[in-house]
Amino acid sequence: MGAPAHAAPPVVAVLVVHEPGDWFAESLASLAMQDYPNLRVVAFLSGSTESAIGDQIRTALPSALVRQVEANPGFGPVANQAMRVVEGTDGFFLFLHDDVALQRDAVTSLVEEAFRSNAAVVGPKLVEWDAPTVLQHVGLDADRTGRLVDVVDPGERDQEQHDAVRDTFALPSACLLVRNDIFRTLGGFSPSIPFFGEELEFCWRVHLLGARVLVNPSAVARHRGAFAARMFLPSADARAARHRVRTVLSCVSLSQMPVVVVRLLLQSLAELVIGVFSGSARNALVGLRAVAAIPVDLSAIVARRRTIAPFRRVPSREVTALQLRSTAQLAAFARHRRALREQQTSETPSLRPVATSGSRTTVLLALSLLALVIVGSRQLIWGEVSPVGQFVAFARDDVSMRDLVRQYLSGWSFGGFGAPTASPTALGALAIAGVVAVGRFSGLLTFVVVGSFFVAAVGTWRLSGAIGDARVRLLAATLYAASPVGMLAVRDGRRDALIIWALLPWILDFARRIAGLDRDPLDAVRESSVRPTGARRSQLAASLLFVVSAMFAFAPVSAAVVAMVAVALLVAAFFASSPWRANAWLVVSLALSLIGAFTLNVPWAVQLIGAEWWRALVGAGHPATGASLADVLSLGVDNSVLRWIVVFAYVPVVLMALVAPRARNAWALRSFALVALPVALRLAHERGLITVSFVEPLALAAPIALGAALAAAIAFSGFLAGRTRALEWRQLFATVSVAAALISLSPIAVSILDGRWSQPPATLSQLLTQLPDDSAGDYSVVTLGDPRLLSMWSRPVDAVPGLAYGIASDGAPTLVTQLASERTLMNDALDRALQVAMTGESLRAGRLLAPLGVRFVVVPLRDGTLHARRAALSGDVGVGAVARLADQLDLRRVYSSTDLAIFENMAALPTVAVLDERSALTSAQALEASLLAEALTARSALLPGFDPTIVNRGSLSAGTVHVAVPFSQRWQMTVDGARIAPRVAFGATTAFDAPVAGTVEIRLRASSAQRLLVALQVALWLVIVAIAFNPSRFRGRVRAARQVVEVSLRSDDGARVVL
């Protein structure tokens, strides 16, 4: 094709056509009618477009060059073909969608403005195809995260209010006039963005080049839009979000990048929170997922930045100055509000609402819930969580992440007196969490505590998706999050209960998804089930297993609660009108998840096998207090008025079980079972029918609260469904139920006032800071008393009903002391010593404690919380214990108050000590009489700061080295390299008889089998995580991110447009 000579610069209209409709003729006609004298047309047809369309183009525009491409590579890559078929760098390209109809002088206006303003890119005013008086786009603003926002409001009438030429950050690709040379310099549109986001990426690069992007409203084009109606692209929103994030990170300067990444993250999280409650969670999630995919896209981003680098000709701040300072959403919101105000004062036609009133209410309520949690937790967020109850430090301040990893792999369990067995899985998880929290364990604790409310709410939201729409889900989430369980768990420091409360809805949700129990049409006769298959089922099963296993690792008692929930669901299955397979899957998935959780926690979980398995789960348990039914139903609320208000929550539980119709009745029965079984069990314990160690009531309250929330959701769902019909008796019950459930929310109003959920400022743990450091040698602390006041895993003292003890090393307890520890001979010795002390059999029990390294005996008497306010039926065992310990001749009371008594064992040996001759002789025996006869004496504390997981070095004069740890052949001591064999000391501990002086090294040899098991465990966890998170998605995404769309022209005859 030759190049005609014109005074006007050449403009090549690049038309990308894909299966157009009838309107296409109008588009072509508008091009044909252009008054611009030097306009040529190049049309690219997608592979699926009929060849007749080409003929249609040639008919309307006889000089047009028509080319067909293979398949449908996308607008940008196809438009880039203009650089192949057009020779020369003069003039302009006019890129057009096939659904754009230009006004007759549009090209002329655009070219004039390009020259007038020296712009690189100029766009027209786009108006609605069918309503040319309604504005569609007059340029696009962008915020720092690349979110585009229209300058005009949806449905805004054109009243020439936007008719000034102005700079804009981006223009829609529907109609773009671009200088030929600049387009070629920049390499055209991004070859990696076939659809969605090509205009942002291109315009940003234009700005980096220092060129201008303008909108010229005097040029007008009608645009149909409606991409989704013409072509289906799976996960279109996700593509757009990822393209946006990649564009931002490719185009910003390096110095801006950290701030931008943080902003991307925060903005996505905020959108997610709002989206979760506004019914657009899926849309909101794509933003967060796009940010999360940054590591996946990193290589593509780096490559793109290299490509762009030569074009960075202006400072980044100049580009940034063109962007919105706030977010695109806020700008759109403000613009919309302004438009609404103007609408009220003018006669302009109605504007389309941004959101329906229902969704807006939902968002506002969701935000209110969010605000309530933050307000209620404000003192915890700005301050820190009080170390009350089980809220002890995850690890000591001086422990690094590396130490945690080493301890996890060491084959030494730190619980109790320690044991040469596997470390708890929680220790390994803590090491990972510590890395994420940058070693700030107090911050991690706050995150866990406050985050539990959100986790619980979101979990309930997901679970109640089986019951109703967003309004129903929001009510369920609100009721559960505002139930007293979470608040009381935080107030009293019941970590186990908090974990169970937060994760139980998730567990039930995964189980019901595996069972295929999704939301039924309201009028379905019976519940139906569509079970997932293949990868989706595996993913759900792995997710369930992951949650249950993680919960089990930190709170083993959760296994008992999950088992109880499974039993409750099984009972409900006999009465529910549901497919039996679905019910079976529901129960079996929970049961299998328990088995899987145990497997995933091997080797640590192996110690849970045996006669003491139940005790390992629940510890010494919760004592019976003679609580009444009202006490149980009020879930631990002690206020005399509020406790009765909480009882209102059970109105929907009973009513819905009786009257919920058809499909809804199945979940009503499940809710009833979730409430009735734990209540019955708790009452049976309180009334002496169950005498084994019992789960703490607050942990048992989690399923009760969940059942109540679900029942209220069912009632609300029925209420909404019946609004359009005449009033009937079910509607009446539903109304009463919802009202009762809402009344039961009242206690939260009281609890949020102090901003820390009534956590006491002073706690027992703080009093323990008086225990000295270990400069005189390590020691163990035995805490003795009411099990409710012990902040560690506890065993009962057999001699005294209701009395329990726990063991900590070197002062205050940590996470590992809260998990079951293996019973060793040292535990037997301690049991015996405590029995002797408590029965008064001897007043020298301190000497029996001496070889165990027990230097302090702590008796908590009262906590600042109300957790143990109710007296146990077994009496005030703490006071009795103090009386007995005070009789002991070797125990010196070093601290005494109404809250706590601390006794120091004056006869204690340090954990590692060199015994004198007589004590060494005694150590060879296992006779209580020998120990009672005379106090043991140590020549010195050999190794202050003894750590079984490292090589401990010290200087030794010859003698017997006693180590207050359980005996194992794996203990190894060398003196100047000569190995000394260990022997059992005092029938329980470890000793080395060193005949010579020298440099001593004590270490525990790791077991190969242990290492193998730990490696296997890590591998199993990785597999489960991999299945749960489905990494194959990421592989595809990495490929997609790096993919450059290749475009090949079909039957290219070599004809070119020469400028």
Partner: protein, 489 residues
């Protein structure tokens, strides 16, 4: 409207829904029925402290705290009597505490079925010497005897220290000497508040508040020197705000109706019930019961008096005003015949208690002697007198069955072959509310005597006050704990 609703309900409910309704109702009824089940608090997991020493026969070790022996008068000596009724030798340690100076330790061994006596003083030079006697392997019983020119005194040793001690009877009339001996056996200092009650009321001198007793030492309070001179009524209360102590009372009566010497262990708690097996109404003896109520509220005390061979008298209720000493002399009761009788004193208000001691001043010929004995706070199945009882008197032992069931009991003494039943007391039946006197012979001289019963009984004994003292003394025995760890009330 209601009828319409009922019919709508009937129409709508299917069989399955009726089942569901039945299940829901049954569940609710079940829960309510569990709730209605009554539940009782279990007994206190750890016992209240006993007001008197307890022997734990099954213990692997025993520790006894002897209240003290005067040590700075060469005419006075003291012995610790250690009785091993078991079948294996027992080793142990005696740790002696003095007023000033370090504690000293002495090892000892007691062969099976043997009673040994150990010198309490060992030239200590301290005004008082107290001791801990610890054994390992099996339990032994221990008491102390003071040989005094004014009459020998046998005192029990405490089985545990305590943070409260009470002495109901005291006397400083006409220069009589009352010394309260406080021992701190622990490795840490004890801090005491001492108060005393005279006829004019309770007194708490500032000098007796916050008194520090160094670890492993003895402190002696001379009551006459503490502004309690010439008092015929003098009860003492010792409370340790920090630590645990052992309190004894050394009493040398010099006139105003009382003569002689006595040393006794205090009561380590108040008790709601006190038993006295050996009481006497006689023209040659003056007897009274001294009741000390250290609590804030007045107490009503019911005294049941059971004379030998006769029906018990109508219960007598006396009031023990708060923080006061009340004295009661049954001999003034005309309904009470002369002779021996037993007494049960019960406090009406549960949870509160008093301390009651019996004061008996007897005259035999020209000799007059006053003996003060603390009652027994509980009946027990087994009683032991480590140093035995005075033989060749009709009432070497007095045994009282305060229960409602007949008791069959055996009296034994410790011989070389073990416990030997006393002839005639192999199996004695004792009716409810009845008392009996046991006459021991020379065969039991200085041997440990034990009373074993199938029902809880209370036992008292007569002890020699020395070769030249015709008036016998009285002393309590050591009760043995039951398998549950307590003596029985």
């Amino acid at each position: 409207m209601a009828r319409q609703m009922r019919s709508a309900v009937t129409r709508t409910l299917s069989v399955r829904q009726w089942l569901v309704a039945a299940m829901v109702v049954a569940s609710v009824v079940g829960i309510v029925s569990i709730q209605r089940r009554t539940v009782e608090a279990t007994p206190a997991a750890i016992d209240e402290r006993s007001a008197a020493p307890l022997l734990q026969p099954a213990a692997l070790a025993s520790t006894w705290f002897c209240p003290g022996v005067p040590g700075n008068d060469e005419s006075i000596s003291g012995r610790f009597i250690i009785s091993n009724a078991g079948e294996k030798p027992v080793g142990g340690t005696i740790t002696r505490f003095v007023v000033e100076g370090a504690a000293t330790r002495q090892r000892f061994a007691v062969q099976p079925r043997t009673t040994i006596e150990v010198d309490a003083l060992v030239n200590s030079g301290s005004s008082f010497v107290s001791a801990i006697i610890e054994t390992q392997g099996s339990a032994v019983s221990v008491e102390q005897r003071i040989v005094h020119r004014a009459g020998d005194a046998v005192a029990l040793c405490a089985s545990s220290p305590s943070d409260e001690w009470y002495l109901a009877d005291g006397f400083t009339g006409e220069g009589s000497i009352e010394q309260v001996v406080v021992s701190n056996p622990a490795l840490d200092s004890a801090i005491l508040d001492v108060t005393f009650v005279t006829a004019t009321g309770e007194r708490s001198p500032q000098s007796l508040k916050g008194v520090v007793i160094p670890p492993e030492s003895v402190r002696v309070f001379d009551m006459a020197a503490l502004d309690a001179q010439n008092e015929a009524t003098l009860a003492v209360s010792v409370k340790a705000t920090v630590g645990r102590v052992v309190v004894g009372r050394s009493q040398h009566y010099l006139g105003r109706g009382r003569l002689g010497y006595g040393m006794s262990l205090g009561a380590s708690a108040t008790s709601a019930r006190w038993y006295f097996a050996d009481s006497l109404k006689s023209s040659t003896a003056a007897e009274e019961y001294v009741v000390y109520n250290p609590h804030r509220d007045d107490q009503q005390i019911t005294m049941i008096i059971a004379p030998d061979g006769a029906e018990a008298l109508e219960p007598i209720v006396i009031t023990a005003p708060a923080k006061r000493v009340t004295k009661f002399a049954p001999s003034g009761l005309t309904a009470l015949p002369e002779g021996r009788y037993s007494v049960i004193a019960s406090v009406a208000q549960p949870g509160e208690g008093v301390v009651i001691e019996r004061v008996l001043t007897s005259q035999q010929g020209k000799s007059t002697a006053t003996v003060v004995v603390l009652g027994s706070p509980a009946a027990a199945l087994r009683w032991t007198a480590p140093s035995g009882a005075s033989p060749n008197v009709d009432d070497s032992l007095r045994i009282f069955n305060p229960g409602v069931n007949p008791a069959t009991l055996t009296v034994t003494y410790l011989g070389p072959a073990g416990e030997v039943p006393v002839v005639g007391y192999e199996s004695v039946s004792l009716a409810p509310g009845a008392s009996t006197s046991v006459a021991l012979t020379d065969a039991t001289m200085a041997a440990t005597v034990t009373v074993v019963s199938q029902e809880p009984v209370v036992v008292a004994r007569r002890v020699s006050r020395g070769a030249k003292q015709p008036v016998l003394g009285s002393a309590p025995l050591v009760a043995a704990a039951t398998s549950e760890g307590t003596a029985q009330s």
